[in-house]
Symmetry: C3
Subunit: 115 residues, 3 copies
């Protein structure tokens, strides 16, 4: 079964398709807005774009791992998430607090989806 890599670099790919599934890299708002809602909007748009590149979309999300640098941003993150997610086809989720690679990053979202 073939493996297809999206936006491959020397260190990592932004997504990897295998069979009828895709796993995306954790998405963060590089050079994005400072606030959680702005970053969440950027991150979810990046996920939309990568899923589209793979021939999928958010209605086929299976799972989302959400890392918040500050769990106090949970409510604000969810306001953006709730407006974005396909409410007829919501994925499973997990959400915890973990500091991210750069101190200005407030949220990282990593997803599994079907094609």
């Amino acid at each position: 079964m073939a493996i297809k890599r999206l936006s491959p670099g020397k260190r990592m790919s932004e997504g990897v398709v295998h069979g009828d599934r895709i796993i995306l890299a954790g998405q963060v708002a590089v050079d994005g807005p400072a606030d959680i809602k702005g970053q969440a909007t950027v991150v979810l748009a990046q996920i939309d774009a990568l899923l589209k590149d793979a021939g999928s979309d958010k209605s086929k999300l299976l799972f989302a791992q959400i890392f918040l640098a500050d769990i106090g941003d949970y409510v604000a993150f969810n306001e953006v998430w709730d407006a974005w997610v396909d409410q007829q086809n919501p994925p499973a989720r997990a959400c915890v607090q973990s500091p991210l690679v750069r101190p200005e990053w407030k949220v990282e979202v990593q997803v599994h989806a079907a094609l």
Copy 2:
């Protein structure tokens, strides 16, 4: 390949079946006991129930991601885990410390299983 969602809400599902696999949402002890052993017992029972809903069971677990709010609870969590897990069919695991959404939650477990 069809996607089936377990206990779907507007924000998330408690589990998503795709092909011969299921991914569950991170399980926590909402309104559960205060102590780690009590919460672990609740969380693992919820996993049993969701797997059963999907036509699977703990003998088919592939992977468990364990988040402890306090890694000092590792030994106590494992006492409950060790009594619960199918010792003939143990999953792969990872366990780290990350604060959870509510301060009273001590453990979140998120699993992948086969059907």
Copy 3:
């Protein structure tokens, strides 16, 4: 579809093969070197060995979840990663900071791969 478990113990397996995929347990440098580069080298060698046991290899990596106990080790970890990863076939990744089970462990890496 059969499930095959690698190095199964009573608590967990070091890897689980299901269909054309394998999920490894989070790998840490047990009794390994103290420094991040030494631990990263041990961890990635363990991943190589487990993938080999399953009939896979790092060119078939789909995803790597990296937990650093201190995100300040990110650059040093990546020096080891970049020299190890198959640059023609890089996986998706996510990297966050989470304390690990033992205070001397600096990095845990958990991967999904194809066979």
